[in-house]
């Protein structure tokens, strides 16, 4: 299905009803209003102790009505899609405008959908929704593969989550545009035991893909082996070091550094409010010459990609940092308008219950020229971190953390012992100035990232080539 195929009929509504609700909200002081219609079906199947014992299906639908007037946003949502519910939501949304009730509404002219710009996740419908027993078979395969990896793997937990979100936006500017957004994720967790030593390893992947993705290139098996490998490796991990040292980040998922250290700080809302540590740094050096960082929502089948954002704007590739210089912010309509800067197609919301915020899509650093092996060889004593758990940032003072789940000591230019997980902490506007080498091996993550902001979760991607950071604080126990 392509985006044009979504129309109001999908939500059992007619243009007249939607136009009436929009007219009701579009009083004089309102700059812009929209209604976001959503219908999401999701299914989660999970396995533990070798059997698939949990299957959950959920259906959620509703509409969110939003009006903006200056810096103000009025918002209401309803899980009923009747004309009456839309009108009542519209009455709430327009409450922010300084217009008395009954003010003559501004007329709206409806323009047809814009021409299709991109179709980043064309799915064969037969591949979009598969019978539950196929999911069960996949999880069983994973369980066997992980246990085969090593007899010390004692527990295997795996789950597959698939979702199909149909959304449509109707705006006071006459836009009517929709999209069908598939999303899928496979996650494996293994526990390894050796005497009293018990360790965990996790791995997963996915994207805006169909179910066959996990069978292609033996992905499901490789996720199982990878989770098992990490758990076994951790059985031998020694205490992580503590203090400032050079750190080499492996390619791919360690790109979470960019997401936390600079990505959030470049979201337009914080900069409009001047509460970001990056608020006054546009055009200034915030990274070394080696670093060019983009946010790109247009990569086919990627977890963070979207044909259009949740305001109907086609997603784009936005250069955030170009050769170390802070180049731009990522925006939604409200913040782009208030700041007078370009619209980048980053207006996103978790669902119809949430307001739109500027959010990242896929955020990554472009490849450099160094050989990854040379980067490791350049470090006398430091840390090589290849896999991470979550991260977090304090937008205002710029301090960020991200926690390694697989890391090794580097001693005399060689990767030696694995170390226990440790949190790395730094200052966003400074850390990338210390990136002295960038590898030629850019990789994107496998497709498991979820970003939280103001209580809303949205799927995102990250990517990184191997890089060397000359100094960062590593929070181990071994002082």
């Amino acid at each position: 299905m392509s985006e044009q195929d979504v129309d109001l009929e999908r939500f059992s509504l007619q243009e007249r009803e939607v136009a009436q609700a929009l007219a009701r909200v579009n009083v004089r002081d309102v700059d812009y209003a929209d209604i976001y219609f959503e219908s999401t079906i999701s299914e989660a199947v999970s396995m533990e102790e070798g059997i698939v014992k949990r299957a959950v299906k959920s259906i959620s639908q509703g509409a969110g009505v939003r009006a903006t007037a200056g810096e103000k946003t009025g918002f209401a949502y309803s899980d009923e899609l009747s004309r009456r519910d839309l009108e009542s939501a519209a009455d709430t949304a327009r409450y922010i405008a300084n217009s008395p009730q009954g003010e003559t509404p501004v007329g709206i002219s409806v323009t047809p959908c814009p021409a299709k710009t991109q179709n980043l996740y064309p799915l064969d419908p037969s591949n979009a929704d598969v019978p539950t027993h196929e999911r069960v078979d996949l999880l069983t395969l994973i369980d066997q593969e992980a246990r085969r990896y090593d007899p010390r793997i004692t527990k295997v937990m795996a789950s597959v989550n698939t979702e199909s979100k149909t959304m449509m936006v109707a705006t006071t500017e006459g836009l009517r545009v929709g999209d069908v957004q598939p999303l899928s994720r496979l996650q494996v967790t293994c526990i390894a035991e050796d005497g009293h030593n018990r360790q965990v390893g996790t791995f997963g992947g996915g994207g805006r893909v169909g179910f066959s993705f996990y069978h292609e290139e033996e992905r499901a098996r490789s996720y199982a082996r990878e989770a098992a490998r990490q758990a076994i490796l951790n059985l031998e991990a020694v205490d992580a070091p503590a203090g400032i040292m050079p750190v080499v980040l492996g390619s791919g998922w360690p790109g979470i550094l960019l997401h936390e250290a600079i990505g959030h700080g470049l979201e337009a809302d914080f900069n409009r409010k001047k509460t970001s540590a990056f608020s006054h740094l546009l055009g200034q050096r915030v990274a070394s010459e080696e670093c060019t960082i983009v946010d790109d929502g247009t990569l086919p089948f990627r977890r963070g990609s979207l044909n259009i954002d949740d305001e109907g704007t086609p997603t784009t590739r936005t250069v955030l940092i170009e050769r170390g210089i802070l180049h731009g912010y990522i925006t939604d309509r409200l913040n782009a308008r208030l700041m007078g800067i370009p619209l980048t197609g980053n207006g996103r919301r978790e669902d119809f219950r949430s307001v739109v915020l500027p959010r990242m899509t896929n955020t990554f650093m472009l490849a450099g020229t160094s050989d990854p092996a040379d980067i490791i060889r350049s470090v006398k004593k430091g840390l090589y971190a290849v896999s991470f758990g979550g991260g977090q940032v304090d937008i205002t003072n710029g301090k960020f953390v991200f926690s390694a789940s697989e890391a090794y000591l580097i001693e005399d230019g060689k990767v030696t012992k694995p170390v226990k997980g440790a949190t790395l902490i730094g200052n966003g506007p400074d850390i990338l100035k210390r990136v002295s080498m960038v590898g030629h091996d850019l990789q994107l993550d496998s497709g498991v990232g979820t970003c939280g902001k103001e209580g809303q979760s949205v799927p995102v991607g990250v990517g990184l080539p191997t890089i060397r950071i000359d100094e960062i604080t590593v929070g181990g126990t071994s002082a």
């Binding site: 199947v45 059997i51 698939v52 014992k53 949990r54 299957a55 959950v56 299906k57 959920s58 259906i59 959620s60 639908q61 509703g62 810096e71 103000k72 009025g74 918002f75 209401a76 949502y77 309803s78 899980d79 709430t92 922010i96 539950t132 027993h133 069960v136 527990k155 526990i191 965990v200 951790n234 503590a242 203090g243 400032i244 409010k273 001047k274 509460t275 219950r353 307001v355 758990g389 979550g390 991260g391 304090d394 205002t396 003072n397 710029g398 301090k399 953390v401 926690s403 226990k420 997980g421 440790a422 949190t423 902490i425 200052n427 604080t473 590593v474 929070g475 181990g476 126990t477 002082a479």
Partner: protein, 452 residues
């Protein structure tokens, strides 16, 4: 809402009949509805206001030892027909699980105590705007260095849940929640980084909210005291967690003693039941029955009676937190801690979960430290519940000779949770319930602080 509660009870009964007629051996239905009004004010004007009303229904069915769950927010007949059909079909696709099933019929809650969880007061949008403005204004008035604001939020919400199952259990209750918070931003002098902090009040009762002015003033002082923060050298020192950060340690403890973590061997407290996990002056309680508290509930998400459970007594781990499924896995009875999102099978969560207070004041605890760190904020997710390995970003204050010397940021604190609980050296007398988890000030004998 009382009327819809009754309508939902009837709806639940109808659905149970329908799945039974399709051959389901057991089933339960959970219906939740709620409405909320929230506003965000920033620099005195309205930034965002939102109003919502929503409902959802979850159905769980058992065909012998196979089970599945489904949920919908669409209560039309057509949608509910599909829900019944889908759930029954899903259940047939999963494996038999010997442990599955509803609780024993005899164990179901027989009365629903009134825990005073609902204050029917409704706030208008204008009232909320005014409360948020007052809180923000109070913060801005404290000091000229408070130059900006990340906004003040006020919200009120009312909800109701109905749970019914094939044992004939039907329970329902209503609840409310009011909150007010403000996040001022302070500008430091000559190159100090900008700082933001916040403070809040939250309660089931509107009249129990603290005054907007006191929230604003506390938020401002929390923000101002961070200005000029710096790193400290890497070293092993005593670490004091203030009540807000100590609460997160209770969160880790409750996860580690959840039946689900234990039967999956995914807990650093595996095999510790009956053993000392902390010094003998440490007591931790889970109590669902405290009137009016945020973690209270009159029955759990399976319809079992809720209760008071001592979890750690004289330093010994004396109880896990269990629902029926995880309890059966471990050969134990449920502790009435089942929780669930509407469309899912139950999991375990604490109710009101707290350390019993000690005798020392926070000041006395700080005075007991020659060199050390008082932690007032933690960021990041560097906690491994399987091994207990702990490493998180921290900010707070450096303590020198029993006095707060200067603010600290961009450091990590690291250790192992198992050891950290053994190393609880003192517990403050400052227990205040600000959420489901509540802790007084806590001093840990020694952790690694990594900075410069």
């Amino acid at each position: 809402m009382e009327t819809s509660s009754e309508a939902f009870t009837t709806l639940a009964a109808t659905l149970i009949d329908r799945v039974k007629s399709r051959g389901a051996t057991e089933a339960d239905v959970l219906v939740a509805e709620g409405d909320s009004v929230s506003v965000q004010v920033r620099l005195a004007s309205v930034d965002c206001l939102s109003k919502a009303r929503e409902k959802s229904l979850g159905l769980r069915v058992f065909f012998g030892k196979r089970s599945a769950s489904a949920s919908t927010s669409d209560f039309s007949n057509e949608s509910l027909d599909r829900l019944v059909a889908d759930t029954c079909e899903l259940a047939k696709a999963v494996a038999e699980d010997e442990t599955s099933g509803l609780p024993d019929a005899a164990a179901m809650a027989t009365d629903v105590p009134d825990l005073d969880l609902c204050d029917p007061t409704t706030l208008t949008v204008d009232q909320e705007i005014h409360l948020a403005q007052r809180a923000e204004q109070a913060a801005m008035n404290v000091d000229a260095r408070i130059t900006n604001s990340d906004g003040a939020d006020c919200s009120s919400a009312h909800g109701a849940v109905v749970l019914a199952n094939t044992h004939g259990f039907v329970g329902r209750y209503r609840s409310s929640r009011f909150s007010l918070s403000v996040a001022p931003v302070a500008e430091g002098s000559n190159g100090q980084s900008m700082q933001r902090d916040s403070w809040y009040t939250v309660s089931r009762k509107y009249r129990e909210l603290e005054s907007p002015e006191s929230i604003g003033e506390i938020a401002a002082s929390r923000t101002l005291r961070r200005l000029g923060a710096r790193k400290v050298g890497t070293q092993r020192v005593p670490v004091i967690f203030d009540p807000e950060t100590a609460e997160s340690l209770l969160g880790h403890l409750s996860s580690a003693i959840s039946g689900y973590s234990l039967y999956k061997s995914a807990s650093f407290l595996l095999g510790q039941l009956g053993k000392p996990i902390a010094p003998e002056y440490v007591h931790v309680e889970d109590n669902a029955l405290l009137p009016g508290k945020l973690g209270s509930r009159p029955f759990d998400a399976e319809g079992l009676p809720t209760r008071q459970t001592m979890v750690v007594e004289n330093g010994r781990l004396v109880s896990y937190l269990l629902d029926t499924y995880s309890g059966r896995k471990l050969g134990m009875a449920s502790t009435g801690n089942a929780a669930r999102s509407v469309g899912d099978s139950p999991s375990v969560s604490p109710t009101n979960f707290f350390f019993h207070p000690g005798t020392l004041s926070p000041d006395e605890i700080i005075r007991s430290v020659k060199q050390g760190l008082l932690v007032t904020e933690l960021i990041g997710f560097g906690v491994n519940l399987v091994t207990g390995d702990y490493s998180r970003g921290a900010s707070g204050f450096w303590i020198e000779n029993g006095e707060l010397a200067y603010p600290v940021e961009e450091v990590t604190i690291a250790g192992n949770l198992k050891r950290m609980f053994q190393d609880v050296e003192s517990i403050g007398n400052d227990l205040v319930f600000r959420g489901k988890l509540a802790s007084p000030t806590l001093k840990i004998r020694e952790m690694t602080v990594a900075g410069q």
